[in-house]
Amino acid sequence: MELLWILIKIIIVFAVVMLHVMYATYFERKVIGHMQVRMGPMRVGPHGILQPIADGLKLFFKEDIIPTVADKKVFYAAPLICLISALSAVAVIPFFQGFAIANINIGLLYIFAMSSLASYGVVLAGWSSNSKYSFLGGLRSSAQVISYEIAMGLSLVGVMMLAGSLNLTDIVNAQMSSSWKIYLIPQIIGFFVFVVAMLAETNRTPFDLPEAESELVAGYCTEYSGMRFALFFMAEYIGMIIMSCLAVVCFLGGWSGPFEVPGIPFFWFLLKVYFFIFFYYWVRATLPRYRYDQLMALGWKVLIPLALFNIVLTGTIKSLFG
């Protein structure tokens, strides 16, 4: 019975996440389009509402081109590694009280592990394509991972210290019972570091170096086409959703809100996640791209010291005020 319930939960979450991925692409194009005084997709369906389906169909039926010199096994595996690791991270996200596929005690660590695994997919894709641009993209990705994984992990240490747990549900409950209601206020520095690291971790503008289209054509996925490309695409958007969820859970109080919306326990959670996803698009529409060495410098010279300072500060406050 327990197993069945987990299966049902998996199916529900999987369907919901996939639907969100589909429409995240659509809303990205719409939001950025309107920010750039144009309209975005308008052809397929009213206001292009069916665009994601058309895109999916197109990518599905496209010819799957594999370079003759590619390392075939790794080439096949790389997008799957990306997608599976991204999808498995969804398992520990608590959407509302008591609803998480796996409510494990090391939830936060698990998410870190999975999101760094995803970058292996990118590195391997760059390597196995046997193309020079892809290779550079893969290299950049690995450099980016080591600089930003650490900053992100450290930025959440403050949250762990306040909540006293790595379990995501416990973190939300600890926030609700604390005097601030959300950890954004005491952890503002940690939040800032997390948001920057979050953009970098998911390879989004201004840190989209692995696929910087004006420099490296398409970076690691230059040689990919059709459904394999779509898998990378999906993994990127699932990564965005997971990072938004993590930000909401750790800093914005998860599913708690100023008042309870009857019947929709995940209302506030979704609203906050949508805001973060919108924020991703908003930043993409506004900012230029960092250079590779500048990004590393930002990670090591600014974010990691800031995160460490935040840990010291949190520890001091906690030991002083209890």
Binding site: H34, M35, V37, R38, M39, W282, A285, T286, L287
Partner: protein, 213 residues
């Protein structure tokens, strides 16, 4: 003029990312302004008269044939040599008769010289710009095709041939004496040499009016 710029930032600007927030505010503002896109196949922009599009030979309403007198000026001036004309000369009257008039539209560079030099306003570039095709053959316009192009242009744009005025048929701003007889057609006042516009007191007025005031 040495450019003066100062990219140093104050402490508050450095910490609170003021310039990035300003940028974000601008894009957010633009999210709610009206977009400038023209949804092309549904809506079309109104072209200005004289747009240099598909070629046509004007059909003379009296004879239903071309006005061309085979003077060869267009074929001579064409920089890409895409016009070829064959004509025969009547031995008695020395009048020329056009036998064939062909334009290779794929060679044409759409400079508009042919319609500008035509002394009888026979050849014209219409405002039609959607005529792509899958093969090369349809772009080799012969005389029938060119006359048909003109009919299609009139039908499609609901243009009255008598009232249609293309600025290449009588180039704007030239005095009447500079023009050959065939080009001395009636045009809006503004297009004539006497009616040319100048800027006065914040609006465009014709030079004649400005002088009389």
């Amino acid at each position: 003029m040495k450019i003066q710029y100062d990219t140093r930032k104050k402490l508050a600007e450095r910490i609170f990312l003021i310039e990035i927030l300003k940028g974000l505010a601008l894009t957010l503002k633009r999210l709610f302004t009206k977009s400038v896109t023209v949804q092309y196949p549904k809506e079309r922009k109104k072209l200005f008269p004289g747009f240099r599009g598909r070629h046509a030979l004007i059909r003379d309403p009296n004879t239903q044939a071309t006005k061309c007198v085979a003077c060869m000026r267009c074929a001579t001036v064409c920089p890409s040599r895409c016009i070829s004309i064959r004509f025969s000369v009547d031995k008695k009257t020395r009048a020329r008769k056009v036998n064939s008039y062909e334009i290779d539209a794929l060679r044409c560079i759409f400079c508009g010289y042919c319609e500008e030099v035509c002394p009888v306003n026979a050849v014209v570039l219409t405002e039609e710009y959607e005529y792509s095709d899958y093969t090369r053959d349809p772009f080799h316009f012969d005389m029938d095709r060119l006359l048909k192009n003109w009919d299609e242009f009139l039908d499609k744009n609901k243009v009255d041939q008598d009232k249609y005025r293309n600025p290449f048929l009588r180039p704007r701003g030239l005095s009447l004496g500079d023009l050959p007889a065939g080009k001395r057609i009636d045009v809006p006042e503004e297009w004539t040499y006497e009616g040319q516009v100048i800027w006065k007191d914040g609006k465009a007025v014709s030079a004649k009016e400005a002088a009389s005031e």
